[in-house]
Symmetry: C7
Subunit: 78 residues, 7 copies
């Protein structure tokens, strides 16, 4: 089930093309399809939506998120 | 549609010459045409406008934005 | 009992596959099974639960936590 | 018009000897003539004036500004 | 008495296996037996106790503390 | 008048032995004679005085100021 | 009198074995005898006392202070 996650970036690699949740240090959350990431944890999302208290607030389409503003990333949005 | 985005910087590269939205850590947003960027995510915008709550507040013309103050960049301003 | 902990990362290595508690700088705590970590202290948790005042608040499943947001990690949740 | 700005630092280079506006993370703004800058975006201004709400507050003459305190720089003060 | 402390890390080395006090930037203090540390000042404590206003608040057992959250470390808890 | 300032550190070099004003991120200002600096913008001042609202608050004599706490340095105190 | 201070660390070197004042970013001040320091400005103090508003609050004995929490260091406590 979680085979193949030896290093943290393996999780991001396995999440490519899937919906992920990104929690920012500012408190905001973004959801979108993960298109790309790098070792700085910079990520590109497609169909990005800003979420607050479980409600969608704003859409940004394609978005480049700087890694140093990210607290956590979860591929399993629920 | 989003072909060619293998690495996060590919999105910025494809946005050169286009209008982008830049969200700063201070909470401010800037829109302008992306002229240049580097690996630190320093960016240069042309026709820069500071936006607050969807309203334009101030114009700065050409602007150099330091990468470490940026939260996200979205080429699809809406 | 604590044999084999010569360097700090040895503790994380010995905690792989076990439940850990992660305290974030934002004040939030997460518990989950440690799947992977790296030298930046980026960690991947399975079955991640956000905890506040000892009560579970939200579940995130698999989660990638950025190391620079972490204050401490304790394998012995109590 | 904006020819020759391939990299962000090109903008600063073209602004040497001209009046620029520097926005600091603390919220303060400085204007002055750009004499020098480096890759850390440390800058030296001549005839530096601290500006608040569009009004000049204090003069500092020659000033060395540390790059990591800078949010943006705009050569086109308006 | 304080022989052999030529470099700051010498103090941490001499404190291995002894009770230390760790002050975090968040304001919290931890006490515990120092098992390991590295050049980033990441430390592992055994029998970790969170202390506030001189009173013990919570126990964490083995704990990995990230160096960049630490203000000071004192081997002589009093 | 400002000949010879090709790089930002040239200004600090030309200010050696002269009175400078140092603005810290904490909001405090220090004045003193610049004795030494390095590429991290760590500086040593002689006859250091802490200034608030233009009034001298406290004297520290020789002082080592860490570069990463500095916002700007101005050799022309006025 | 201040001969031999060509680089900032020269001041710390000349202060070894003497009482120094250390101002932290948190606002706290510590005084103690400087035993050791390194290029990160990590310092070890002996007979460390926390000072607030000129009054001694707490003693810590030997203390390792992380350099990145330090604002300034003054060998001339007054």
């Amino acid at each position: 089930m979680v085979n193949g996650i030896d290093r943290p970036l393996d999780l991001l690699n396995s999440a490519k093309g899937k919906e992920i949740l990104v929690q920012l240090k500012s408190g905001k959350q973004f959801v979108g399809k993960l298109l790309a990431f790098d070792i700085h944890i910079n990520v590109v999302l497609e169909g990005t939506k800003e979420v607050e208290d479980g409600e969608q607030r704003r859409s940004y389409g394609l978005t480049f998120l700087r890694g140093d503003t990210i607290v956590f990333i979860s591929p399993s949005v629920n």
